[in-house]
């Protein structure tokens, strides 16, 4: 019994929801970053599911590019964390309020 | 049990059998070969010529006491050695050891997974190997192993780049990511290490780095970090690391042989004259012999080159190997498009 595509979408939605919850609740910067990667991953899943549903390869292309972007984003993000750590000796974002004068 | 699954099981069995034998043989070879190089005898007490040394060590590992360092993160501490085996036990799936043969009335290709994204599977599984080192270093809660694991992860990621690029160069003339096509290509034409010497050289160095073999064994550099990431590991878990390392060495050298030395084929030997089963076994043994040579070469290199400093390691990885690999990529692509290859 082939699996209807909507199940994949539901799964992706669930993953995304969990990712969002994680991003909003976790206190440590890295944990938030992980949740964001999770959300990204859910998005890729949706794209792949649609590619399959519509028989269109371009969906997969977008996932390909999304991966590259995720890599770039992770690199820069982690670099930022290192810089912040060097500055504030902590990764706990509740204590980092650089965005406030 | 459909014939396909049966064939697949047979192939997997063949590979696993070979891989499990590698560790003890290497144990022995690892001690004897350098001994002869350094004009000394090496282990010869256990069994004739010390051949049973492997089994002795294995028994030793089994009975040693499992020391669990306090403060270690038990979960990860136990997980790390298992992860070491993951890449080793899975990367052989895409390595061909023979043409598609007719055994028992069924045509099967002599490779476990014959997918056209084969090499990628190999590489991705290989890249998982990093985790065992990283987790080991982190979980054993001591500075030396932590430093070892950080170095390991940095080294693995950097050299993976060079490795992947050279592998891509090797695939371009064959025009496919399926290793059987690569071997078929080499059977008709020249072996790849002749047409892409630079590619082969970079692959070789990167392979050493991937498996943390001597010139690049900073992660467990005895002189500096006691035993690097597996300082805290005792008996059986240490044995797992050990086996993991040897297996990844074997699979990597098998990949090397497949890409650059014609894999299971010999230029003068025409396989069609044998029956299916014989072809399979013959192909496999040729591959095993080639891998053996490679492993010997590993050991040989181990006792000839001094260890790299960390910054030299990084500089070599990023500023020397990667550019050469890209150069090779460009050259090969140009020659392929130009119709030379």
């Amino acid at each position: 019994m082939t699996v209807p595509v909507s199940w994949y979408l539901l799964l992706a939605a669930a993953l995304f929801a969990i990712g969002v919850f994680g991003a909003l609740t976790r206190r440590s910067g890295i944990a938030i970053f992980l949740s964001i990667e999770l959300m990204l991953n859910a998005a890729n899943l949706v794209l792949a599911a649609y590619a399959r549903l519509l028989g269109e390869r371009s969906g997969q292309m977008v996932v390909f590019f999304a991966l590259a972007v995720a890599a770039a984003e992770a690199a820069v993000g982690l670099a930022l964390f290192i810089a912040v750590f060097r500055l504030r000796k902590t990764i706990d974002i509740d204590r980092i309020n650089l965005m406030r004068w | 049990m459909s014939p396909q699954t049966l064939a697949m099981l047979a192939k997997v069995g063949l590979w696993v059998f070979f891989l499990l034998q590698v560790a003890p043989v290497m144990l022995w070879l690892e001690r004897r070969a350098p001994a002869f190089m350094q004009d000394r005898l090496g282990p010869n007490r256990v069994g004739p010529l010390g051949l049973l040394q492997g089994i002795a060590d294995a028994v030793k590992f089994i009975f040693k006491e499992d020391v669990n360092p306090s403060g270690a993160d038990r979960g990860l501490y136990l997980l790390a050695p298992m992860l070491a085996l993951v890449p080793a036990m899975t990367t052989f799936l895409v390595l061909p050891f023979g043409p598609t043969v007719e055994i028992g009335g069924h045509r099967t290709s002599l490779v476990v997974i014959d997918s056209d994204a084969g090499i990628l599977l190999f590489l991705s599984l290989a890249s998982l190997g990093v985790y065992s080192l990283v987790l080991a270093g982190w979980a054993s809660n001591n500075k030396w192993s932590l430093l070892g694991s950080i170095r390991a992860s940095a080294q693995m990621i950097s050299y993976e780049l060079a490795l992947t690029t050279t592998v891509v160069c090797a695939l371009i003339p064959a025009g496919s990511m399926n290793l059987t096509d690569v071997v078929d290509y080499q059977r008709e034409g020249l072996w790849q290490f002749v047409t892409q010497p630079l590619g082969f050289l970079v692959f070789l160095v990167a392979a050493f780095a991937e498996t943390n073999r001597l010139p690049f064994d900073l992660p467990e550099a005895e002189s500096e970090l006691v035993a690097g990431y597996h300082t805290e590991y005792g008996s059986m878990r240490f044995a797992m690391f050990f086996m993991g390392e040897y297996m990844s060495m074997t699979t990597l050298s098998a990949l090397g042989m497949t890409l650059y030395f014609g894999g299971w084929s010999l230029p003068w030997l025409d396989f069609s004259q044998f029956t299916g089963l014989v072809q399979a076994l013959l192909g496999f043994t040729i591959l095993v012999l080639k891998v053996g040579l490679a492993l010997f070469f590993f050991i040989w290199v181990r006792w000839t080159f001094p260890r790299f400093r960390y910054d030299q390691l990084m500089r070599l990885g990023w500023k020397v190997l990667l550019p050469l690999a890209v150069l090779q990529l460009v050259v090969t692509a140009a020659m392929t498009v130009g119709g030379l290859l």
Binding site: P4, A14, R57, R86 | D116, L135, S153
Partner: protein
């Protein structure tokens, strides 16, 4: 058989996702992220794009998450303290928000697709060749831009995370 595989990977993904979000120890959550990514890679295979699955494993788990681990170790991130007073309120809000989001999306998806069966997998759909052609024809420009993007990211990352030279030392607060 496909259903079983899907169920396995789906549950695996959800479970590890929850661990990623739930666990206090950063290394544990990272490792569970690896598991989640591998599960997703499995799902990619089921969705008929092995190339993506392999790429995901090679790229994501092989490099990016290792980078994460690298940074976690470098910064020696300890266990996370439970959220402070105001945090709990935010936790509740986020929780409810996520649930509402999932509910809405579920309703949306279920309404629009319901039981729609995916078309049968064709050999041509699965082959990497099709993807390669697509990549270097219609998506050539994005491909080049991605290259540029990665370059920029590398330069940025290295600049941001550099060790400040002595003269910059005292400027930092």
């Amino acid at each position: 058989m496909e259903l079983a595989a899907f169920a396995f990977f789906a549950l695996l993904a959800l479970g590890s996702a929850i661990v990623v979000v739930g666990h206090r120890n950063p290394v544990y959550s990272t490792m569970s992220l690896v598991v989640a990514l591998l599960a997703t890679a499995g799902l990619f295979v089921l969705l008929g794009s092995p190339f993506l699955a392999v790429l995901q494993v090679l790229l994501y788990t092989g490099a990016i998450v290792v980078l994460f681990l690298f940074v976690i170790m470098l910064l020696n991130v300890g266990r996370e303290r439970p959220a402070a007073g105001r945090g709990t309120m935010q936790t509740w809000v986020a929780g409810v928000g996520a649930l509402v989001f999932f509910g809405a999306m579920a309703r949306l998806i279920w309404e629009s697709y319901g039981e729609a069966e995916a078309p049968r997998l064709t050999e041509e759909f699965v082959a990497t060749r099709g993807l390669a052609e697509l990549l270097f024809t219609t998506y050539l420009l994005p491909f080049e831009i991605i290259g540029l993007l990665l370059l920029v990211a590398v330069v940025a990352a290295s600049w941001v995370a550099r060790r400040p030279t002595p003269d910059e030392e005292e400027e930092a607060p």
